[in-house]
């Protein structure tokens, strides 16, 4: 089985979250805006949660930005460069962006792309809840930051 197919867009935005769980919708909401913006050279993928096969989404990229909601994240968001960290949990439910990078290193010979995490502060994550007011404000700030990261001339 081939690990990659075709020529991928140089930039990948990998947004994570469940749109039906309150502020966990931050990732999918930012992804939807980005898809509507249709920036050239930028592919957007949305997932419920990260898993090992997401490592294959990194193949052939120059830069990858993981977008997610976080509970203990500084307000309104945190943007940080990440490296591979082999951390795996006691369940098969999800892995971290750092663990996705570690998986990439295991299944690929080449260099990993430059990877960033844009973690946006969320407040409430109950099933069926809408986005909270605080999270909506954090999302706006994160949208501006994401735009600058993807295209410096992006309107603020």
């Amino acid at each position: 089985m081939s690990v990659s197919g075709g020529t991928p867009a140089p930039v990948l935005v990998l947004a994570v979250g469940n749109p039906s769980r309150g502020d966990d919708a931050i990732g999918p909401e930012l992804a939807a805006r980005l898809e509507a913006a249709a920036l050239p050279g930028v592919e957007v993928i949305t997932e419920f949660q990260l898993q090992v096969e997401n490592a294959l989404d990194l193949v052939g990229r120059e830069r990858v930005i993981f977008v997610d909601a976080g509970l203990d994240t500084p307000v309104p968001f945190e943007l940080r460069r990440i490296e591979a960290v082999p951390e795996f949990l006691h369940t098969s439910h999800a892995i971290s962006p750092e663990a996705v990078l570690a998986t990439f290193a295991r299944v690929q010979d080449g260099d990993a792309p430059e990877c960033w995490v844009l973690c946006v502060r969320g407040e409430s994550f109950e099933l069926g809840e809408p986005l909270s007011g605080a999270a909506a404000a954090h999302l706006e700030a994160a949208w501006t930051a994401l735009g600058r990261l993807l295209r410096p001339e992006f309107p603020a």
Partner: protein, 490 residues
């Protein structure tokens, strides 16, 4: 006082409490508590899983046709299982008593893709470090990176098996997530010839890797037979779906329940009135209910579901390579492996092989390219759908009102079916490995290994960055924390 050994201690106030707890802000999380006396003997062991009971509220009041998409948001790890179980229930509501061949085969293809990718993730990335290096081996090595260093092909094959299963889902469900492929009464798209050809290209490789995985588990049993035979092992009654001829069928069948020795409790029962067979007990110490077989009552009627049950309690597997492996598994060590808790892993790999073979067979069936996608009939007010999800039997039950809105929903997930069985497993492990010994990370990992064999679903359809550590606390009789250990995630 419970009749189950180690479920409830005689004098808990005099005991030390050990808590193994993944601290998660989401409602679905697990915790193990051990009460130890002053001589470090285990007096009580309990697994608490906080079952998420807001499923039903989330669904009630919604138009029924939205439900197969919505229920995928209940669980991020097995959304396809919920998608298909909901559709099976709502097939009855729209009067579709018999799907078209194209619709049923496309759903089956989607389901086998889900089983394959879920089992691959569990074995290759979650359990293989324990199994390959030992349950109390160096923690720094006991992770998937350690596996990759010493067994690079295993790690790689795990990722690619998982990816293949995801591709099957993408082509049949329409998307990677939030798929809409199955709808009440059928499916909304068939496979194109190009999609079929793409999946055909790699399926033989998947079968080959699946066979190697089965052999790998067999070698692990052979190398440490006594440990594998006895680890967390107990006698259990079982529940699963089987086809009318007794074959394994993960998509559809009748309910089969058996005693531990294989005697029939009931067989080929139509699940349409599952509540005549299964009831649920509430225990004060757990948020999760304890299902039991009505005919045996709540003390004796608990049972086990999932891969180990399905592989050992079907009469045969309807694909040749997997059935050959099933027979070998059943005969191995005079049948002891097929009764062992670690036999879950062997059974899971046999199901991966079966799924890969079933996918191959379906991909050579032209019905997948057909255009007759929908069936219908007389509208009904109620529907029940049951499917064998990766972790076990999954029940969806809906009542739909005259406005086409869901008036009532009831879901019994596989982890709930296995609640009692998992508790028995950790008590067996606690008795054998922890009793009278000073607790270490390696010993506590034995408890986790037993829980991991079942791969309980923790309802964590959200996972925001920040919280899913595993915390172990040693607390004295007064409740003061003496020591703690946190295995954290970023």
């Amino acid at each position: 006082m419970s009749n189950f050994p180690l479920e409830t201690a005689a004098h808990p106030e005099q005991l030390r409490r050990v808590v193994i707890e993944p601290v998660s802000r989401v409602e679905g999380h697990g915790k193990v508590t051990l009460l130890m006396d002053e001589d470090d003997h285990v007096q009580q062991a309990r697994l608490h899983i906080v079952e998420f009971r807001a499923f039903e509220k989330f669904i009630q009041g919604r138009p029924y046709w939205e439900v197969p998409v919505m229920v995928q948001r209940l669980c991020g790890i097995c959304p396809v299982s919920h998608h298909l179980a909901a559709c099976k229930a709502l097939d009855q509501v729209v009067g579709a008593t018999q799907l078209t061949p194209t619709a049923e085969k496309l759903r089956r293809l989607m389901h086998y893709g889900q089983i394959l990718q879920s089992h691959a993730l569990h074995f290759f990335h979650l359990s293989s470090p324990d199994l390959l290096f030992g349950f109390d081996s160096d923690l720094a090595k006991r992770n998937i990176v350690g596996v990759a260093a010493e067994y690079p092909e295993i790690a790689r094959q795990g990722v690619l098996l998982r990816k293949y299963g995801q591709e099957v889902i993408r082509h049949t469900a329409g998307k990677r997530i939030h798929g809409t492929g199955a709808v009440p009464g059928g499916v909304n798209k068939s496979l194109t010839a190009a999609e079929r050809d793409e999946l055909q290209k790699d399926v033989y490789q998947m079968i080959a890797w699946s066979r190697e995985a089965v052999r790998l588990v067999k070698r692990l049993f052979e190398q440490d037979l006594e440990n594998y035979r006895s680890f967390g092992t107990f006698e259990a009654r079982t529940l699963s779906l089987v086809r009318a001829d007794g074959a394994m069928d993960l998509y559809h069948g009748g309910l089969r329940a058996q005693h531990a020795d294989g005697r029939t409790i009931f067989d080929h029962v139509d699940y349409d009135h599952y509540w005549d067979q299964i009831s649920e007990e509430v225990k004060a110490w757990s948020y999760m209910k304890f299902p039991y077989l009505r005919v045996l009552g709540h003390e004796d009627g608990w049972y086990r579901v999932g891969p180990l049950t399905r592989v050992t309690r079907c009469d045969f597997i309807p694909t040749p390579l997997a059935d050959r492996e099933r027979r070998e598994f059943m005969a191995f060590d005079e049948g002891r492996a097929a009764k062992s808790t670690l036999g879950f892993h062997w059974a899971r790999m046999i199901e991966i092989l079966h799924s890969a073979e079933a996918i191959k067979d379906l991909l050579h069936d032209d019905d997948l390219l057909g255009s007759d996608l929908m069936a219908g009939g007389e509208r009904q007010a109620r529907g029940v759908g049951v499917i064998e999800a990766p972790r076990g039997t999954l029940i969806h039950h809906y009542r739909v009102d005259e406005n086409d809105q869901v008036a009532r929903a009831n879901l019994i997930v596989s982890t709930t079916h296995n609640n009692h069985a998992m508790n028995i497993a950790i008590r067996e492990v606690a008795k054998k490995y922890l009793d009278g010994r000073k607790l270490t990370e390696g010993l506590l990992n034995h408890i986790e290994v037993a829980v991991r064999a079942f791969d309980p679903c923790l309802s964590c359809a959200t996972h925001a960055i920040g919280k899913m550590p595993l915390e172990v606390q040693l607390v004295d009789a007064e409740g003061a924390v003496i020591d703690s250990l946190v295995r954290n995630s970023r």
